[in-house]
């Protein structure tokens, strides 16, 4: 019976060391009183968590086994679409304007995240400057609209083509790099685009942004009401889901996944790696362009402030939270990360703190995301 007290005393020692260390680190930033409080809270928390952990962990493994079994009987990704569509169609009838507004934003982010998922999730190229394409799309649309007077349906295709081209042209040199070097170059690209938008006063109007973008119209009707705009965004979200889902199952999609899993092996099997990577980046940029147009038309005003590095990180978080490479997962990730900050408005200060800690925890405990990891491995 000596085992139990020894286990208990070791837990006690461990939690006191960890909380003491954290309290000392915290000391210069908030003073003695807050530090002592942190010590107390952490001490109790770690103690409780460790004790609870010994009880929970065997049950967790059991739960994981159950979920695994359920997963095998659930339908494939694409049949989730219906589950998503039915409630989505009804939103404007039951919700207040505020909720529709959030839903429109969520829709734009879903398109963005799905686009990034093509690059990061399928092809395995980490992109830290995805917001650059979003910005190029939004700015092209806004400039075409305000300077040349093009309407929504004529400005959008042009803007999307410009964005796709930008993605392609930047990818040609950048794809010579791999892994984290590539990530850094994309980050640099994103920053250069933002700095340029911010400083090129004569063309982009600098930090003041571009205003009075006209609202989209559809067969002569101005889609100025929120619920009309909601259906417009929903339409593009559905198109994105269907198109990306089909491309993923095509020869191109399979080539992307092969490149992600093992580039050398894939090239040896005759997959032209550079060409397919170019497809992936341009295809991702295409969706970012669409999202950019929708954003500019919705806000009717854009400025470089909306296209910072943090925005890139946020979109990346949506992709990895839901699960790299899974369309359903990415949608859930985007919806969670749009809605969560709205719910947590009261504790807004701690939002980004929690996001940062959340990313670290996710990478340690569930790197494949909440719903990811099955799409590819089930396809041998």
């Amino acid at each position: 019976m000596t085992a139990v007290p020894r286990y208990f005393s070791r837990t006690l020692l461990r939690s006191s060391i960890i909380s003491l260390w954290s309290a000392v680190l915290f000391l210069p930033f908030k003073g003695l009183q807050a530090s002592l409080m942190l010590f107390g809270v952490l001490f109790l928390l770690i103690l409780l968590l460790t004790l609870a952990g010994t009880w929970v962990s065997p049950r967790l493994t059991m739960a994981a086994a159950v979920r695994e079994r359920m997963h095998r009987h659930l339908p494939a990704d694409r049949r989730y679409l219906l589950l998503f569509l039915l409630p989505a169609l009804g939103v404007p009838f039951i919700a207040q304007n505020y909720i529709i507004d959030v839903a429109v934003l969520a829709g734009i982010y879903i398109i963005l995240a799905l686009g990034l998922n093509v690059v990061v999730g399928y092809t395995g190229l980490l992109n830290l400057g995805f917001v650059a394409y979003y910005a190029i799309g939004a700015y092209s649309f806004a400039l075409l609209n305000t300077r040349l007077g093009l309407g929504f349906w004529s400005a959008m295709p042009v803007a999307v083509v410009i964005t796709t081209l930008a993605g392609f042209l930047f990818a040609v040199p950048a794809l010579r790099l791999k892994g984290d070097y590539l990530a850094l170059v994309t980050l640099g690209f994103g920053e250069i685009v933002r700095i340029t938008l911010n400083n090129w006063d004569s063309f982009t109007n600098g930090p003041n942004g571009i205003g009075s973008i006209s609202a989209p119209t559809f067969v002569g009707i101005s889609l100025v009401t929120l619920s009309a705009y909601y259906y417009l965004v929903l339409f593009f979200v559905l198109v994105a889901i269907v198109v990306i889902g089909r491309v993923q199952r095509s020869r191109i999609g399979r080539a992307w996944i092969a490149l992600r899993e093992d580039e050398i092996a894939a090239s040896a099997m005759g997959v032209p790696s550079t060409m397919y990577k170019l497809y992936a980046v341009s295809f991702g940029a295409f969706w970012a362009g669409i999202a950019g147009c929708l954003f500019a038309a919705k806000m009717r005003f854009i400025s470089p402030e909306s296209f910072t590095f943090m925005e890139s990180v946020l979109i990346l978080c949506m992709v990895i939270l839901g699960g790299l490479g899974s369309i359903g997962g990415v949608i859930v990730g985007a919806v969670i990360l749009v809605i969560l900050p709205e719910i947590l408005r009261e504790v807004q200060m701690y939002r980004m703190l929690a996001l940062g800690a959340g990313i670290v925890l996710l990478m340690i405990f569930r790197p494949q995301g909440l719903f990811g990891g099955r799409v590819v491995s089930s396809r041998h």
């Binding site: 680190l25 930033f29 980490l126 640099g188 920053e191 700095i195 980004m352 940062g356 670290v360 790197p367």
Partner: protein
């Protein structure tokens, strides 16, 4: 005018070099871009202000200024190094065996966390570093050099020389080089690789803290988001010199500082922050091994 810009660039470049060393050492050993390294620098800048403020309140600064400054430097280094050590232990160590992109994403998380941690505890307004030395200085060849600039250049030079000697000749330094060359081989000959990795993070964070302290004295203002751009610039410096290469980081830092201040003076100051990114992209595309780096074959 040109000479003045060279002095400014050299000052800035020494600071970049100090931060770049942390990037390069960690990359040399773990092949990880420690995205949170810039935040350690920012923590150093804040800690310097906080600790000096505390020492002034206690009355030590009035009693002996050099002693107070030395103590501030020492405590700043200790605290920042502890932060660096903790970050590695929590956010990177569990991911040693994970795919290569996981630690990078985790590092971004740490960076966001630390920025907001400082913003919440210290407020989002600028912090002012008390002016201690003032604008005293001397004039060489009709160019004005403040004492602070001279101090930054000299201190950085001494520290880099010390680091070079440490890595060349001490037992720990040799172990660090061995781990950088081949981690599993180093473990086989009895080097405790985890300890060496921790030591690397501690040294790198200490250097970043010194840089942070000196910059906050130089500019007199500190904010919670300074770590991001300084981090990117220092990383660019490390890549410029050849990542993983310690003399390369020093060289790259100084070169970047010079480019930035000359570019701001003669080309355009509005795009000052873009130069680092442009250099980063160009160097990675044209010569990814950096100016002083050697080619490394990809392992299959």
């Amino acid at each position: 005018m040109l000479l003045q810009q060279l002095i400014n660039g050299l000052t800035l470049g020494s600071v970049y070099a100090l931060i770049a060393l942390g990037y390069t050492m960690v990359y040399g050993i773990l092949e990880l871009i420690n995205f949170a390294h810039g935040e350690i620098y920012m923590l150093g800048a804040y800690l310097g202000i906080i600790i000096l403020g505390f020492l002034t309140a206690v009355g030590l600064t009035a009693y002996s200024m050099p002693l107070a400054l030395a103590l501030t430097l020492l405590l700043t280094i200790i605290f920042s190094a502890s932060y660096g050590f903790t970050v590695e232990k929590i956010a990177y160590r569990p991911l040693r065996a994970a795919p290569k992109l996981s630690p990078l994403i985790s590092a971004i998380g740490v960076s966001i966390f630390l920025q907001n941690y400082v913003m919440i505890t210290q407020g989002s307004t600028d912090k002012v570093f008390p002016s201690l030395i003032g604008s005293a200085g001397f004039t060489v060849l009709s160019t004005r050099v403040t004492m602070l600039q001279a101090a930054i250049i000299v201190v950085s030079g001494i520290i880099m020389a010390l680091l070079h000697a440490f890595i060349r000749s001490t037992r720990t330094g040799k172990a660090m080089r061995a781990v950088a060359q081949d981690r599993s081989m180093a473990a086989l000959v009895g080097i405790n690789t985890d300890t060496i990795i921790s030591v690397t993070f501690i040294i790198g964070s200490g250097l970043a803290a010194i840089a942070g302290l000196m910059v906050s004295m130089y500019y007199g203002l500190v904010n919670y988001f300074i770590g991001y751009s300084a981090g990117i610039k220092a990383f660019t410096a490390a890549v410029l010199g050849g990542i993983g290469n310690i003399p390369g980081a020093m060289f790259g830092g100084i070169l970047l500082g010079l480019i930035e201040s000359l570019g701001a003076a003669y080309i355009s100051s509005e795009y000052k922050d873009a130069y680092a990114f442009i250099i980063l992209i160009v160097i990675l595309l044209v010569r990814p091994t950096g100016l002083l780096g050697r080619d490394v074959e990809e392992k299959i």
